[in-house]
């Protein structure tokens, strides 16, 4: 038998199609992938350690920087976990605005995924279009929270502030206009021969394997498992909305593409229902020991100033115990496990990152495939390194 040699190829951490600082050490036989060793941690900032030294409110900005493409979702999971520990109820208006912002975030994240995924495979036009639409959501983000990416908008007990006048109109415009844009993307891609050749039958993972690898989100649903936390373990009032959960069949790259496209349309569906049910009301829970006072009280009364100062500097004590809260992040199940020892700082904050867990299956999904298809598989996993490395 002839001596068979493999070639080792380094891909990343500076590589345009690895979506951040992901490094893959790929062993190739010709162009066929034999082995992949992912090397991660280039963006490790020790978020979990940092959170142990901050009050519960001070840890919210840390969560923005996990999945920086879906910051509101990260905020949401964290504040829900803290609220569960405290046992406080969030007012209706705050819950509804949270759902609207979370679904806008899902749109934003999926738009960026589609843009980069298409660009990786060579479709430049879709990339430009998606960024154009994403910009609309970014401007809403900016007007609502003051920031385009690191929003830090949710607070334990509600929101940092109410939305601006005209917010409903801006969101309504998205609900009205975006379906047309989705039609454009689908027109450009869904029946495009090159797109089909690059995605159908590529990066296949079966339902059993996906569960074995702990995969969640669109990747799991693309493999045919009907599992969506918004439906199966609802939080923040998702049980009040009716929407479809798209499920794929074969578990290939094309299935995941279709699942995410339907999810974007369903996000609009949820947003429009939430807009209909949005009523005036308080945006913070009636829990003065936890929530910041309204800004008018801080600027005009000494009691309000003291109240604000106390919460900002000392935080608030949280009952001893431990909770886990999972939310359906655009990438999968984002979980927060918080252990409290009764003080104002979390004793341990564990973040269960969906991208980290999903990335693990990359060797399983692309072994035996061509090196060029690896790029499509990475794109269809929709990973973000801020969350993988934490």
């Amino acid at each position: 038998m002839a001596n068979k040699e493999t070639m080792t190829l380094n891909m990343g951490p500076q590589h345009p199609s690895t979506h951040g600082v992901l490094r893959l050490i790929v062993e190739l036989d010709g162009e066929v992938i034999q082995k992949i060793t992912p090397d991660i941690g280039y963006l490790h900032r020790g978020v979990e350690k940092l959170a142990e030294h901050r009050t519960y409110h001070q840890a919210i900005p840390l969560t923005d920087r996990l999945d920086y493409l879906a910051p509101m979702h990260n905020n949401l999971g964290y504040v829900l976990a803290v609220e569960k520990l405290l046992g406080i109820e969030v007012p209706e208006r705050a819950r509804t605005i949270r759902v609207i912002m979370a679904e806008l975030t899902r749109l934003k994240s999926h738009l960026l995924w589609l843009a980069c995924h298409a660009l990786d495979i060579g479709a430049m036009t879709v990339f430009i279009y998606c960024f154009r639409e994403r910009e609309v959501i970014m401007s809403i983000y900016e007007r609502v929270s003051g920031a385009r990416m690191t929003t830090n908008f949710f607070r334990v007990g509600g929101l940092s502030q109410d939305v601006y006048d005209g917010f409903e109109g801006d969101v309504q415009r998205i609900v009205a206009e975006f379906p047309r844009h989705f039609d454009t993307y689908e027109g450009l891609l869904t029946r495009n021969t090159i797109w089909l050749q690059r995605t159908v039958g590529n990066g296949v993972i079966s339902a059993e394997e996906a569960i074995d690898f702990g995969m969640t989100g669109p990747v799991l649903r693309g493999s045919g498992v009907d599992w969506d936390l918004r439906k199966d373990d609802p939080y923040s009032g998702y049980e009040n909305y009716s929407f479809k959960v798209p499920v794929g069949e074969g578990g290939d790259t094309f299935d995941r593409y279709q699942v995410r496209l339907v999810e974007m349309r369903e996000a609009l569906n949820i947003i429009s229902q939430a807009l209909d049910s949005l009523k005036p009301g308080p945006i913070l829970a009636d829990a003065p020991q936890v929530c910041y006072p309204p800004k008018e009280a801080v600027y005009n009364t000494i009691e309000g100033l003291i109240h604000h100062f106390k919460i900002a500097s000392e935080g608030f004590p949280v009952p001893e115990g431990e909770v886990y809260q999972g939310v359906e992040n655009p990438k999968g199940e984002l979980g927060y496990y918080i252990v409290s020892d009764g003080t104002a700082k979390p004793y341990r904050l564990r973040i269960r990152p969906p991208s980290f867990v999903n990335l693990q299956a990359i060797e399983k999904m692309s072994k035996g495939a061509m090196i060029a298809d690896l790029v499509a598989v990475i794109g269809s996993l929709d990973i973000v390194l801020g969350e993988i490395d934490r």
Binding site: I40, G41, H44, G46, E48, K49, L50, H53, K84, L85, G87, I211, D212, F213, G214, M215, V225, W227, D232, D233, G321, E322, V323, Y324, G326, E333, G335, Y337, V339, Y347, R348, R350, R352, F356, V357, Q360, A361, K364, D389, R390
Partner: protein, 161 residues
């Protein structure tokens, strides 16, 4: 009460002497078990109680208490939509526990992360290397005795100090 939970009843019936405690807090069931039985109990959870999804593996450092570490596993049943949390005490003198990779492939990286950040080793793990930190790093940052600013550095005293 945790004792009314189906999974807890089944676990008590099968592994009576290996269960340390069962608690329910905020509607979440936590069962604390002995280290030696972890693989058997997890196999039972997976094959008999339909907890087919290993969501998360992590650890907590309770420095100053004995045993020092607590391994924390989160399971999910896609069929019954239930969740359960398993906790396993691990002592400082023998920080090792059996790996769950034979049961779930997802345990691979999650256990590597626990090894990396807590220094707990896993028996029969196929590829136990650091994952987030470089291979030549010393120390385990999520241990409570690891300083926030890192080793050999002065603690940050504020901008004006």
């Amino acid at each position: 009460m945790a004792e009314e939970n189906h999974a807890v009843i089944m676990l008590r019936a099968r592994f009576a002497d290996s269960i340390i405690s069962a608690k329910k807090f905020r509607d979440e069931v936590t069962v604390t078990v002995r280290k030696e039985y972890i693989t058997k109990i997890c196999r039972f959870l997976k094959e008999n109680l339909q907890f087919n999804f290993l969501i998360d593996v992590t650890a907590v450092d309770y420095m100053g208490k004995a045993p020092r570490f607590m391994m924390v596993y989160h399971f999910l049943s896609i069929q019954s939509k239930e969740r359960i949390r398993l906790k396993v005490p691990v002592s400082e003198s023998d920080p090792a526990i059996d790996s769950l990779v034979p049961l779930w492939n997802t345990a691979n990286w999650l256990e590597r992360e626990v090894f990396d950040l807590f220094g707990i080793t896993f028996n029969n793990h196929p590829d136990l290397r650091r994952i987030l930190l470089p291979n030549d790093w010393s120390g385990h940052p999520l241990r409570k005795d690891y300083p926030l600013q890192g080793p050999d550095r002065e603690p940050y005293k504020g901008r004006l100090a």
